[in-house]
Every structure is written in C-alpha cells, then in structure tokens.
Symmetry: C2
C-alpha cells in the first residue's frame, strides 16, 4: 500500500493513547477503539482484580471469539448459497 | 444459561494462563487463544518496544477491526439478498 494512502488516527483506550496507522479513516478507527474500550470496562466490572494486560488479552479473546463465530456463520451461508 | 452447560478451558496466551468459561468447547477456545497469541507475537515483531498491555490492546483493536469489517460485509450481503 502506498504510504500516502495510510491514515493516522490517535485514539484513547482505557486511558492510554494509541496512534493507529492504516487505510481506514478516523470514523472506523474511533468506532473500533470505542468498542475495545467498552469491552475492557465491561470485563473489569466482572473481573475487578485483573490487571490491564490480562484485561486487554481477555478483550482480544472476546473479540476473536465473535470474529470466529461470524466467520463460521459466513462460511455456512456461502455453503448454503452453493447448494 | 444453566451453570452445568458452561465449560472451563485453560489456555496459555503470551506465557500467561487464562481460564475461559463459556458454552464453547475446548477446541473453539484453544483456536481463539492461539489466534490471539499469534497476533500478539506478530505485532511484537513490528513494535518491539511495546509492553504487554499495549500489545494486547492493539491485538484487541486488530481483532475488533476485522470483526467490524466482517459485520459490515455480512450486513451488505443481507441487504443484497433483500433486494
């Protein structure tokens, strides 16, 4: 990807700033950052003794779990279409 | 969900153990944990100075980014079907 197509967006997640570089615009990056921030805060409520790194790992696990389920659904949908 | 339907699986992600509780079986949980572990190690290569918590947050951002894209594609697919 050409460097001039890459956009830089700074977001705040769980009180830390991150500069995200990619082809997606600020609106998408801020939506994603806000979802991660929300999930970390939600997990903190049910797991108050977790430190930030474990909280973030479990947030990643949670997101990845949803991703795998959606990928499987999407593949099942394609198989149905092919029938 | 009844408590007896919940399964407990212990996984290792980036050298730390996590006990994941949910309705999914060990195979799914281990796949998800392995994807998160892989992504953390991949991001560490390109960002060697990041600490574990930032690495985990960026992994969550990455997973969430893919999730949002797939959700959008899935919604577009449904809209196409409705036409």
């Amino acid at each position: 990807m050409a460097d001039d197509q890459r956009q830089r967006t700074t977001v705040t997640i769980y009180g830390q700033h991150y500069r995200i570089v990619g082809k997606d615009g600020p609106e998408h990056v801020e939506k994603v950052a806000s979802m991660v921030d929300d999930k970390m805060r939600e997990l903190k409520v049910s797991n108050p003794y977790l430190d930030v790194s474990k909280l973030a790992v479990l947030t990643a696990v949670n997101m990845c779990h949803e991703l795998v389920h959606l990928q499987e659904q999407s593949e099942d949908g394609k198989k149905e279409e092919d029938k």
